[in-house]
Symmetry: D2
Subunit: 396 residues, 4 copies
């Protein structure tokens, strides 16, 4: 078990989640593939950085993310900044030979994503994009069932990601509502997670047909705070334009013939982190809802007529990643555990000299899908989705 | 309370449901608007008709549905036959001045539906199409909330109708898989119910963009039996072509600016009568699932932050139609009660000389939407939906 | 298929439910074991009786229930009156050789129940007590699984019956709160249903240990109306004493060694008809909730570790009574269907010259359990439950 | 923010949970009340201890727990051993002036617990017993509603703790099935959590009436491994006697007049960590199920008749402890977060020089209740529960 030094850029919500993961990963997965050492954290200024170091248990702090890139003792760069900084940091880190984990979406556009993908390919390092939800044990269990053929050939997929934190027209104009920072709205922020799960569970997208809607065209300007996420209310002050989508709705034709639909909105009162998918196959069905994330619903056609129905499989030791989690089912996992598992698989790839999914190829592919969704909504028409050569070759 | 004589054409599953409704309606709703008298039932031959009369409590039976039309003592004609007979019977009944209730879908196409609609308009009789699900008390409660403004302006609608009775490739080639009898597959059979609820709750459709899929292209020929509904298994015998859709998926733009998606399939293992809708408004959300039909889920934005969440409102005496149902909430209603309520509202319109919704205008409108969905799937493009003048005028 | 004439005594909530059952039974179960003819209905006065006859489809009406007993053309007497009249009517009907179905609880006490039981034993007629909930298909499916050994030996049972219609201290003092009419409160009114299901699914009770609580000691006097069931609110007027229990809680030792608990209250806000049971066996578990009455939850220990969990079996054609209900699962049943099935089994016993469960022996046994629960609560101690000889002999 | 050095005794399942809490607490709650420093961990031998130190991030390790007591630099002793060691360690730590957090149950009996309670009272240190489940945000929210009077006066409480990890007769005879180590079975292991929540939410117990059952009298001897928790299967080898309960069922009379029932079993197939409670009050009801731990169900009587029902309140930033958890509701918490919150409140009490609940008085009180439950089951009678003077005085 080697120690690997991590430089984390960004001490917000994601910085917290990743710090937790580095600390807890060996506690959960033992023997660990490697021991992540919280070496240096970067924040906007010295004070914030020093505070973040103490809070998140880092040995050093800096206000200059480039010093992390330049530090030869650092093995891993973790990018947990707003989206518009991803590309510059990742490309620099790749050139410096660091292994990279980058928050999703990979970047604002397919073009930016391609540049990042090209950089990591050239560098030969381990790279990962943090679509953590596919590491929820119940989602990994769905993958296992599908791969075992337990639900037969997949016919269709319907996914949703519904939240309500921006339903209030007075929630502030955070960077998440600004195209120049975020790239897109609900699409890049949350729909990408569902797109990632659709690719993971069903396969590559062939074409999409989409509607993008902006329900609340102006929001109060945000004063202070990095990312209010709707928990601060604006007031009577000036408002700024929202130039991203509040909701995305798309139909999908998959390369393997399956069909699907995906919907994501941050304006759904009463839905909090309602990431769901339902998959029908020729031999069974699967349903997942992250709000009840420990559970996977599965129905097997092969069950007898008088006892067939959705089974509520409560994930635990007998299921994917179970050896590292809690010893009794239903002690239950939270958001943190998805990040702990993610960290495990990332460090395992580094330790073993392999690769991990989803990586920058996947992040780039998701960006291509996002671009196609935007184009489709603009043209009111089906738009084909190109597939990154490496992924197409993998026959995914 | 007048007695009104009913002639029922068709003694299958729907004949049973309607007979129950006529018998039970005054038991539930008292004083009743009128007393339905089960006067005559028509079936394919004399023996079947006589048996149906005894089973369903009709005074007379016939193997010739035209004798019902010709009988001046009959006030109401009830059409519960396969779809291809609807138009001929309804037009004849309208010309004979009978009030008409017709099972859904109104007919196989918009063209057929228009002829029926024209006939009843000319005849000045009371007409109804049996989209019974909108009469589920919880659905009517959703309508009430929306009309009261309790969830604000409607932003979107997502509906599903998922069943599994035809998921088995060996379920027989009933008339429901044959275009010449059924007109379409999951679209006409089940999606129409969701389309009806979408129109009822949100408003008219402006355009659609759809995928139709046929997953099982051949099924065993059915020998005997009117409508096996998947409960009989075929065998090694000869197979015939399925020329209708197993699944329909559509996106919708509503005339009032809301967006939506609808999916219907009869190949979803584990889903039985999974008619659901979720509606997000600017002030709240609503969710309904017919499999738990007594309940409506509603979230009000106006609830305090520390106590907001979906309320499970269990319908009963305090909710729509509650005065006629059971005196304690959660005694619970079944499919039959939706038909009892439907009969109540139909006879009330007759007794009061008014009209009722959904009527043939609604049935025709649904057929126009179905036609647009088919066209959209064929063209791989958005297709506009024309609106029946009467409905457009009503500003619905 | 013989016609059998029914005389129904009582035109309230239960009269409605039974009338529906007689009308609908042959519609659902065909060929029917016999055709119930709605011959005569008795109510408190001539006007009420005549109105009930028209509403519920009876040929004749009377204000004197004894005329039903005396009418030789009547085959079946149906007792749907308040509890204090059950014994007198049933004993008279038995002596007149009528088959009898009596609403639950059989009577106010074990003593009254014994007199009724003795009368029907002597008369040799078919008798039934209307614990309809055990005829919910999902409950019958639980019974089937247990009898097949699918969950192994039963270890324990926990049942509830929670309602909220009397939680409001201003709901009126209906007969259900008066000991002299009702015998007991939540115990006789609703707990008896759970006791019946416990006996049906697990076996005879050996001893009980109970708490009876009266939370609301006075309620407004009711003026007019037979049985307000909490839907009418009292006001500032005079109040009368409640001398029955609002809640009963009991532990149970079953004769076969299993243990259990039962709780019933009509003061549980948010619970409507929350009849639940959970049963753990050595090979699996079962859970049922009447508020979602179409579903049975079952977990089989024999399922593989990575796919074990409660299955939600949605009852329909493949389950008990399915041949008579709706042709598609999840069209769904309501309270009425439990009564239709009950009527079917009762008339089947008459037609075949057999007997049916639960009958007056079961009703008497339940009354003995009720008496033991009352005694236990008074003594603050475990009290043994005697078992009716016939049932003990049946080795139930 | 002071650093406080922790000595942790026990590196099993609980050691992991507590280590996570110490590492993550400042990440979640910032500014933290104090920074826990993982100073020394003790395990059964040097190798195990060294490995635990590396895994859980401790600076030092030892095979002698007394060296932790003797180390003046250690501020806090954390007892995460099997139950029979709690008393000796806690008393020694108290005498050494360490603050103490001890896993539940406090000890094997009331007598042992009293000795521990006396020791910490004399020492004047901060002490806590780790009934973590009451720190689930949804449970704390229930407490808040009750204290605000939002559900009125509490009438009753029904709690369960159902697991299935010992349902298999071949799961090994871990220390949890041996009275001399564990004290009791399901009672001490899991029922105590529900007892703690009942005391927290309703108040002190006045008397109990209980059944204890042992369903599986012998289990395979365990060879190696500290605490198999049912995940290892025994085989054909020799078996040993189980001398503790598999299931406990009790009725409760609370000092304030409310009544209740509690059931706990580790033999309930399909239930994993099914910690539930339902509370009915004069103005509303509450339901909680740990398997869906982010949610609290609450029904307010004051809601309008046509929109009343259980609300599913999804806990997040607007609810107890929300400021320290994740910024979006439904990111969701797992078992770890309950421990992180527990650590927060414990260190807060140390930092502020106050006290925390549940502490050793509560742990002792729970032991007294356990003893009364055992006595009640032995005597088949109600048994009164004495209340620790300090708690009685607090008028709890």
């Amino acid at each position: 078990m080697k120690n690997l030094n991590v430089g984390l850029i960004g001490g917000g919500f994601m910085g917290k989640a990743h710090s937790l993961a580095y600390s807890a990963m060996p506690m959960f997965f033992w023997p660990a593939p490697a021991i992540p050492v919280r070496h240096t954290i970067a924040e906007a200024n010295e004070n914030l950085a020093a505070e973040a170091a103490r809070r998140f248990g880092f040995e050093n702090s800096t206000s200059d993310w480039r010093s992390i890139i330049d530090d030869p003792s650092i093995d891993v760069v973790d990018i947990a900044t707003p989206n518009h900084l991803h590309a510059e940091i990742a490309i620099a880190a790749a050139r410096a030979g660091k292994h990279i984990i980058c928050e999703k979406p990979l970047a604002r556009t397919g073009e930016e994503s391609k540049a990042m993908y090209d950089a990591v390919k050239d560098a030969g390092i381990v790279h990962m994009v943090a679509f953590n939800y596919r590491r929820t044990p119940a989602v990994a269990l769905a993958k296992k069932y599908i791969e075992e053929g337990a639900i037969g050939r997949v016919l269709n997929f319907r996914g949703t990601y519904l939240q309500d934190w921006s339903a209030d027209p007075n929630s502030p104009l955070s960077w998440r509502f600004q195209k120049k920072v975020a790239g897109s709205g609900a699409l890049g922020d949350i729909a990408t997670h569902v797109i990632d799960m659709a690719r993971y569970l069903v396969g590559e997208f062939a074409s999409v047909n989409s509607i993008l809607s902006t329900f609340i065209p102006e929001r109060p300007l945000q004063t202070g705070g990095a990312d209010a996420l709707g928990n601060v209310r604006g007031g009577e002050g000036p408002r700024g334009e929202v130039d991203v989508d509040d909701e995305v709705m798309t139909m999908v034709r998959f390369a393997n013939g399956a069909v699907g639909s995906i919907e994501a909105t941050r304006n759904a009162y009463g839905r909090n982190n309602f990431i769901t998918f339902e998959i029908h196959g020729t031999e069974g069905s699967i349903f997942f809802n992250y709000e009840r994330r420990d559970e996977l619903q599965v129905c097997f056609a092969s069950d007898g007529n008088d006892r067939r129905g959705f089974r509520t499989v409560y994930t635990g030791p007998a299921h994917p990643y179970g050896e590292g989690l809690w010893p009794i089912p239903a002690l239950g996992i939270g958001y943190g555990e998805t990040k702990i598992i993610e960290a495990h698989d990332f460090f395992k790839a580094i330790a073993e000299g392999g690769s991990v999914s989803p990586n920058f190829a996947d992040g780039y592919q998701t960006a291509l899908i996002d671009d196609a969704i935007v184009a489709s909504a603009e043209k009111n028409a089906w738009v084909d989705v190109p597939v990154v050569a490496e992924l197409a070759a993998a026959g995914k």
